[in-house]
Symmetry: D2
Subunit: 368 residues, 4 copies
Amino acid sequence: MPRTKVQIKRIGVLTGGGDAPGLNAVIRAVVKVATREYGLTVIGFEDGFGGLIENRARRLTEKEVVGILPRGGTILGTTNRDNPFHYPVEENGEVVYKDVSGRVMENLAGHGIQGMVIIGGDGSLKIAEELWKRYSLPVIGVPKTIDNDLLATDQTFGFDTAVTTATEALDKLHTTAESHHRVMVLEVMGRYAGWIALHAGVAGGADVILIPEIPFTFEKVCEKVRERRRAGKKFSIVVVAEGAKPVGGELVVKKVVEGSFEPLRLGGIGNVVGDKIEEMTGIETRVTVLGHLQRGGSPTSFDRILATRFGAAAVNFLMEGRYGEMVCLRTPDIGSVPLAEATGAMKRVALGNDLVRAARQMGISFGD
Amino acid sequence: MPRTKVQIKRIGVLTGGGDAPGLNAVIRAVVKVATREYGLTVIGFEDGFGGLIENRARRLTEKEVVGILPRGGTILGTTNRDNPFHYPVEENGEVVYKDVSGRVMENLAGHGIQGMVIIGGDGSLKIAEELWKRYSLPVIGVPKTIDNDLLATDQTFGFDTAVTTATEALDKLHTTAESHHRVMVLEVMGRYAGWIALHAGVAGGADVILIPEIPFTFEKVCEKVRERRRAGKKFSIVVVAEGAKPVGGELVVKKVVEGSFEPLRLGGIGNVVGDKIEEMTGIETRVTVLGHLQRGGSPTSFDRILATRFGAAAVNFLMEGRYGEMVCLRTPDIGSVPLAEATGAMKRVALGNDLVRAARQMGISFGD
Amino acid sequence: MPRTKVQIKRIGVLTGGGDAPGLNAVIRAVVKVATREYGLTVIGFEDGFGGLIENRARRLTEKEVVGILPRGGTILGTTNRDNPFHYPVEENGEVVYKDVSGRVMENLAGHGIQGMVIIGGDGSLKIAEELWKRYSLPVIGVPKTIDNDLLATDQTFGFDTAVTTATEALDKLHTTAESHHRVMVLEVMGRYAGWIALHAGVAGGADVILIPEIPFTFEKVCEKVRERRRAGKKFSIVVVAEGAKPVGGELVVKKVVEGSFEPLRLGGIGNVVGDKIEEMTGIETRVTVLGHLQRGGSPTSFDRILATRFGAAAVNFLMEGRYGEMVCLRTPDIGSVPLAEATGAMKRVALGNDLVRAARQMGISFGD
Amino acid sequence: MPRTKVQIKRIGVLTGGGDAPGLNAVIRAVVKVATREYGLTVIGFEDGFGGLIENRARRLTEKEVVGILPRGGTILGTTNRDNPFHYPVEENGEVVYKDVSGRVMENLAGHGIQGMVIIGGDGSLKIAEELWKRYSLPVIGVPKTIDNDLLATDQTFGFDTAVTTATEALDKLHTTAESHHRVMVLEVMGRYAGWIALHAGVAGGADVILIPEIPFTFEKVCEKVRERRRAGKKFSIVVVAEGAKPVGGELVVKKVVEGSFEPLRLGGIGNVVGDKIEEMTGIETRVTVLGHLQRGGSPTSFDRILATRFGAAAVNFLMEGRYGEMVCLRTPDIGSVPLAEATGAMKRVALGNDLVRAARQMGISFGD
């Protein structure tokens, strides 16, 4: 891909995918650096690629980003939907999926935008890559995954805040577990990678950590609980990543209709684990599903800084002509990597990971 | 009941019922005031009335209470079970319920204990009252209900911490609700009284608050959500007390078996409300059940102080011969009230409550 | 004072004096209740009475108060200066103090304002009273003092947040005091009343609490520190209200010029106490002055609720014709009291206060 | 240095230098891994090298480390003094400094200790190195500096907590600065390196950041404050590292005696900067010195994890015969480096640092 440096005067920015603490800090850095350092005009598109397709946009000046650094969420809005290369359009009363990327390019041209900063997860970055490849649109990606499961960067913003929230929850559950001699199960995020569970579990003093990378058996989990009881420790703390799975089996959790109202969002793996422990050990067990609390709230100082560095670098790289790349953390530096290499390469917890090893050595069970 | 003042040299203390932030602060104040001010010996019974029945006890000196002021839970352990007047005993291979209160009195005599501080909820305080009435055991109660639903005291410790935890959760949900244009539902504690939901809802800027005292209709709840959308506010926050109920109906939520594992602790009213809103408005809705997080963690400064005042007053009142009473907050003073009057008298949210009125005036819907 | 009920269509609001967490929550409640419940127009004056005098004002609709509930400070700005009855005016190159209250009334008339909500401390409320008495301006006061030293109300907003901040500081100092076997001194706010020091001291497990109401001697303070050391407790925590004073003496702390720069804001009583302890006991002592951190930050849920109730009541009372009054907390109700009675009546810590008694019984020294 | 692997059965551990959040997490990991994984006996020495010299020690089992993970400080105690190679001994009524390292080796032999984990700053690690070089004592160092100014490791524990505390302080000061249109100055730690000021300043949205690495002029600082005022921003936030210095000058801050008590710990650079700004701009300025609050409190999840990894690695490396080394973070791995290389090599903020560049591009002034 030739890197012909474009004369950039106006840039666009959008946030796509699930929200993560630090998104606003990225937007703020993008706007401040673009306007102060390079005298650019910045246009923000609303609700991810939806706004780019439907041309919902507004100008972002320094005034718009005042006070947003400590705020969670994204002032631009975001969605998990709306792929311009596969967009639902109604035709003759039916919904068909079309490529509307041409409309996107028209909208950009209409705003006079020569470059885009696209902040998002794997899905958003793949769209960014496609826009770059197909239309040579100068684009720079900023990775966003609260799960920290991207191989191309040492860390992503939002992860530290999520781990902090989960650790605070474990600190709280500890006192109630102790007082009631219970098993407390906490389900945290992590569908494919167990980073949040691993980190929060170690930081929160868990006894069992279940992650997608290490299939567990209920027997091993209960063995740990019983071992603690024999040693006079009357409570246990279990952290379960939402994607954790027992050996050899998929969990089938279906939606059921019964009673006078139609229930219910059934619980996930956390509740399954809790029920099994109570059943197999006879020890009172309680389950908490942390859910959306992990995505919300004011970002930690770590995430504010990483997000700020990413946002500033995104603009700098765009002005240097590093198109089609994604910013990344290469400790202690901020670097970039081609979008083509970045997306799809997942960083999972390796079995030889030193934190896993340390956890095992301290007596934490992974249920295997 | 004659108040013959007993010469007290040794006292016992126990914590009963669900744990609440501040229990340790009460225990600490009891031990410090008893030993320093009155030169008493203090015996702590483990796991509520269970320890009193089975004579599991240990001496508490100042050393045992060092560092527990900021810690949640109770160093003595607690349970919701174990009533000495109705205690399960195995006889001829069958479990029968017996009155073992005589054994309790023997245990107390064995320790040379002349007075008891009983910290607990309605159930524990009723047992305390019975021990006082039947055996003239000098007893003083300390009320503990995280729901703050006791008529006899202006406030109970643990409530402020629970409201703080719920408010912090709402602050977090706000940012993610805004970013995704979603309805966020938060289920909080409060089976019979909606104090936590009301306070956290107002403090956390909720749009809808559903409490047991005000039956709601799904139509009214959705009306509020739709009204906000029409006004350009794309998200809504709904707080639901676990005991909230729709007009004219009990919720039947049953346990269902399906799939390869046996699910599941089905969600409660929070999930029901979330499903209905999504179904009726078509707006993406997410539900978080705060659960045990509300009972845990370090007590707020308010709760530490109230718990300390209660603990100190309990010992003072016991030494003054105010037996069969419960300490209470009569702002700004600590007073006492006969246990017989205190238990069973529930403080529910009155419809004319000024906070309910203020909430309505600010546009918060109670779903009625 | 005759209470002729005025037909009110437009009201003004201002915040005066030092800022306190919860001010924004009051403003928000005023605006929401005024507009939604009564259809009023609300004008906000900037920077306390300064904005009223200089006619710096802006309209406040619901839009202006979105998102301010959890935010500290005041969106209207505030100052400790600017009394319309004693206002500095330059005349012939000299500053003379004049009564410019007539100008205030003209400004109000210009906006068509028939009633004012004045949120402020003793100084602001006295001005409010004067405006009511002199001009029969329908005015309602909302008390604001972070020190909680107003007799006419059970509590003021901001106090709980300040105590929380001070308690968190004590929790932090505890660990470092323990590790280094040091005496840690924390100076907190409270020039005339020791409520913050008393509450934070008890909540934070202090060993010595020094407040304006109880003159102390350095000898007694050191006695406590030495007593602890003899008992094997190698550290001590001392909380000092900024207005605490030793027996029989004013502290003379002067500004000194020395060295290559002109120093310095000299430390206050906290540093004096720290130096004396180190000198008299030979134990390493460190001092922290909490200062403005106590005024800042997101209000606690308690303060948000109290502030909201105050704000809503202020508008309701104004519409009911309760002019010249101040809203107040009469647990569990919100009431009102004539401004004439409210101002100047200070609530200080009584020696017989049950919290002081409990603190003493637990071994906390007040240095007397 | 030959690495003859010793058969280790008993190890010692101590913490030296100023305390830092995470010390307890290191101790816990050392004890857990040593006992569970290797069956070792662990002896903890009290108060740094003082305990090693005076043979104040106690056995540490898993029981001793229960519950300490979330607690700040160190259960072993620590000091900045007590170098066994230069130890004050009284001889003939005079204090002379002697080498008492022989006594240290005798004490270790008396306990049957074959290896030491020494957790500390530059001073402690130099002593560790000397013990290894002179006596071939198998020793492994764990770096501890809250300032994060050690070249040999990507990060040290305690730093993230300190930055978090400073950022929270800035969040609080922001609201009060805004409300009162003031300049708020926050002095943070960092005598030789400005990492805390830089990170907290960026995370807390500061307008000016002054660090030891970049000499500043008061004129440039005030220029920024005035520039903001001209742009309608009525407040400014200034973060000052305690070691920040104006161009071309040492600050002479002397202790002065005046008034009826002997003042005072004079303020440091924070107060100097605050006074100058107020004097030169005429804008009200307030100064807060964060001081010891930065060292205290519960470690963040990040610091708990890093400390745990360091502690586990220390024991593993010791058992692998990697003597005379210091554990370090080489993202994403834990590695080690010879003590001789580690000590004395300071990591200061480079002018080309990407965070400094990003900060400048966003309009933050470094006063140069």
